[in-house]
């Protein structure tokens, strides 16, 4: 297949994916801290490059509500947001997943206030990790582009039917220009196919009630169904990724295993820090330290078994969380990896870190230092702050 090589920022890459997906409806309220994804996409709408009905609303709460109405009416629906915008959607995110509406959200990870900050960290999406949405974290523009295309298929799969957010790191990816391989519009359309909704609120021949009141008698059962849909996503995601590889040639998985197989020391992180860590791994290996990196790409559903598979032979593990749960314990990634190891009956020395909040830079040397400390110093059960001024 013919691929076009272009230079695009992360925002542009996601907007291009949206153009090629050509959703029926986008509802958005892209005020700061949203990025320019919607602004770029709105110019595609203006130029007639898509047939999307772009609905501009008065808040992010309304944006996701409009998306829900649209998806419930059988339209392929997308939106984009960041940070406070996602937080303002919070209430409705849970309803969208309960109604099993396959909305696709292009997210750019930016810190939540306060203090006021618009730079990269994962506190926005981590705040929504229990909202019943599938969550995929992209390392770079190419992943953001590819995964957004995969996201449509995953979300709309009959056994899944769940909303999905694909995120990239604010500024680091969203505003940086990178090399992007784009596929032809027609191939994307062929890959995503036609959207066949589960139900249609506007079908007057078959009137239905959407969002009815469920009290103590069946609420538990409804959640059990969502649990099952997430479990189904565990099965469906690799199938869609495999199909994507067949057509477009790029391999994706729940996690990316970068030299973990023979590694003594493994670092786990999400997003763009994985790119930085790969350089650290290479340099350490030249010094004779067997370093490995495990990047978690799909965080919801949480690929516990996959993760354990790659890290269980390590001598020690470091986990980098780009968000704080302020529980005095580790951040969400470390906590869940620990739980996965416990279930697998494994105890591996593990150092958890909080790093990069509010866009604080992370350098190769710092990551190398993390590996060296795994090797040379005693592991602390306390979570450590990486790069904090003290």
């Amino acid at each position: 297949m013919e691929k076009t090589i272009v230079a695009r920022t992360g925002n542009e890459a996601m907007a291009e994916a949206m153009r090629q997906i050509n959703p029926d409806v986008c509802a958005a309220y892209p005020i700061t801290p949203a990025t320019e994804i919607m602004q770029i996409f709105s110019s595609f709408v203006n130029d007639g490059l898509v047939k999307t009905n772009l609905i501009t609303v008065e808040s992010e709460h309304s944006a996701i509500s409009a998306c829900m109405g649209s998806a419930a009416s059988g339209a392929r629906t997308m939106t984009a947001t960041s940070s406070q915008g996602l937080a303002l959607m919070h209430e409705i995110l849970y309803i969208a997943s309960a109604l099993r509406l396959p909305i696709v959200l292009a997210e750019v990870n930016r810190a939540l206030s306060g203090p006021i900050n618009i730079h990269c960290d994962h506190s926005d999406t981590m705040g929504e990790r229990d909202a019943g949405w599938i969550q995929i974290y992209a390392e770079n523009s190419q992943e953001a582009y590819d995964l957004l295309i995969n996201a449509v298929r995953i979300a709309e799969h009959r056994d899944v039917s769940l909303p999905i957010m694909v995120s990239t790191d604010g500024f680091i990816i969203s505003h940086e220009m990178e090399r992007l391989e784009m596929y032809p519009d027609s191939e994307i359309q062929k890959f995503i196919g036609e959207y066949k909704p589960n139900y249609n609120l506007l079908n007057i021949d078959n009137p239905i009630t959407v969002g009815s009141l469920v009290l103590t008698d069946y609420y538990l059962e409804h959640k059990r169904v969502q649990h099952e849909a997430m479990k189904n996503a565990m099965k469906v995601i690799p199938e869609i990724f495999a199909e994507f590889k067949k057509v477009f040639g790029r391999q994706y998985d729940f996690v990316e295993n970068y030299k973990c197989d023979d590694a003594d020391y493994i670092l786990i992180c999400l997003g763009s820090t994985a790119g930085t860590s790969k350089v650290a791994v290479e340099e350490l290996r030249q010094e004779g330290i067997k370093a490995g990196l495990l990047k978690i790409r799909v965080f919801r559903p949480f690929p516990a078994e996959e993760i354990v598979k790659y890290i269980s032979k390590a001598k020690a593990i470091a986990i980098l969380d780009r968000s704080e749960s302020l529980s005095t314990q580790a951040g969400p990634v470390a906590t869940e990896v620990k739980a996965a190891l416990y279930d697998a009956g494994k105890i591996i020395p593990m150092q958890s870190y909080v790093y990069g909040l509010g866009g604080r830079e992370i350098y190769v040397d710092q990551i190398k230092d993390v590996y060296r400390k795994l090797k040379n110093t005693k592991i602390s059960e306390q979570v450590k702050y990486l790069g904090v001024k003290e």
Binding site: N198, P207, T209, V210
Partner: protein, 136 residues
């Protein structure tokens, strides 16, 4: 031997929890009221404003397309119909013109005789509804 009761399990639920339409008909909500609207058809100009504004579906339309009576099984007594009724509004304005200091609202059915006579929608207490207007 007791037969297992025929209960829907989580596996039997429709995707997204959707159900058939019109189920609110089985769930009477009129007893939430603390005030009751009373329609005075002789004063009504058939503008249908009340019908358009009722947030429930508690104002019936007759087969001839006219304003029908209330469906008290579903009316929540919010009073929006009375607030929006142009006839009631006109009466309030008339009263205020005659007595500029009169503090009158569409909830004043029992305290203002003019309003009671001329308004198209009165809001009354549950007790008055039962005793004076024969609404149960």
């Amino acid at each position: 031997m007791t037969k297992k009761p025929d209960i829907k399990t989580w596996k039997d639920l429709n995707v997204g929890g959707i159900i058939e339409s019109g189920t609110s008909e089985h769930f009477k909500t009129g007893d939430w009221r603390v005030k009751v609207p009373v329609w005075q058809s002789q004063n009504c100009i058939q503008c249908m404003t009340c019908w358009a504004f009722c947030p429930d579906n508690a104002i019936k339309v007759t087969d001839e397309g006219k304003r029908g009576n209330y469906d008290y099984n579903f009316c929540k007594g919010c009073g929006i119909c009375a607030e929006e009724c142009p006839v009631s509004k006109k009466v309030i304005n008339e009263i205020k013109k005659a007595a500029p200091n009169a503090n009158i609202t569409s909830w004043d059915a029992e305290t203002n005789q003019t309003f009671k006579e001329k308004a198209s929608i009165l809001m009354v207490s549950i007790k008055d509804a039962k005793e004076k207007y024969n609404i149960k």
